[in-house]
Symmetry: C2
Subunit: 154 residues, 2 copies
């Protein structure tokens, strides 16, 4: 199996990133504001310092969307893998793994101290995938699992 090409998205890629994110949420019956709104947001976000995206395959069929924030416990930033998506026709081709490998490499090179991801409890394939890529479900500092909780506003 050849490794899928992975590249960093520029603000010019906002349209393709928006379409992949829209397809993602549509496939999994999650709300989406639509490709046009996503594209407008991504044009702004991808030009800024706190968001980046990786595209896998040519034409792109896989996407990682990542946000960065500071954290007092680490000298470097913490990266959150907000979304990882591979289009249905390209699954099983290694694109997702190639994207995560590149993410780890890029984060290491740019001084990021940790990468985080939130995974649904029932998504055993994703939990296994992230385990293979070195992401801990049982947190090393506490010896237990941690839940992600949220409250929407407004």
């Amino acid at each position: 199996m050849t490794t899928a090409p992975v590249r960093r998205a520029s603000a010019d890629d906002a349209g393709v990133v928006a379409q992949l994110l829209h397809d993602f949420n549509t496939e999994f019956d999650s709300e989406t504001p639509g490709p046009a709104v996503l594209r407008e947001r991504l044009t702004r976000l991808l030009a800024g310092p706190a968001t980046f995206a990786l595209l896998g395959g040519e034409p792109p069929a896989g996407l990682a969307l990542v946000t960065l924030r500071p954290n007092v416990w680490y000298p470097g930033a913490v990266a959150l893998l907000d979304e990882l998506y591979v289009a249905p026709g390209s699954r099983g081709s290694g694109i997702g793994g190639a994207i995560v490998d590149r993410l780890v490499e890029e984060c290491g090179e740019s001084g990021v101290s940790a990468i985080e991801v939130n995974v649904d409890e029932g998504d055993v394939d994703a939990l296994r995938f992230y385990d293979r890529h070195g992401f801990h479900l049982v947190q090393p500092d506490t010896g237990e699992r941690a839940f992600y909780l949220s409250r929407e506003l407004g």
Copy 2:
């Protein structure tokens, strides 16, 4: 019970915030780089746009440390409640609740779209506390719980 006074920390409060965070991790046997390093980081972070802290009680005995990041699914930022700590002698006095109420209020006023927090699976008191404050363990969009996974780098 009178409500504990809660105020937003300035960069000048970096020392007291650092001491509370150091006490937090020391109490729970987590690693800490020590008050001096934390203070230096906080002086920088609290002056920036992506980190803020709330202090409860006078003198301060409770702390919330919060980071902000963009998110493509929302028009506003997402706030992560990185740490919430109340010193042992001040627990049960309502400081933690007063801090979270103020956090929700401040986030609402400043256009934040969602607040998140990660909670250890075994910390039933914390899970109950956040439930009372409107934080969902079962995510509304998926109908299931989500785990927090992490990988440290370097």
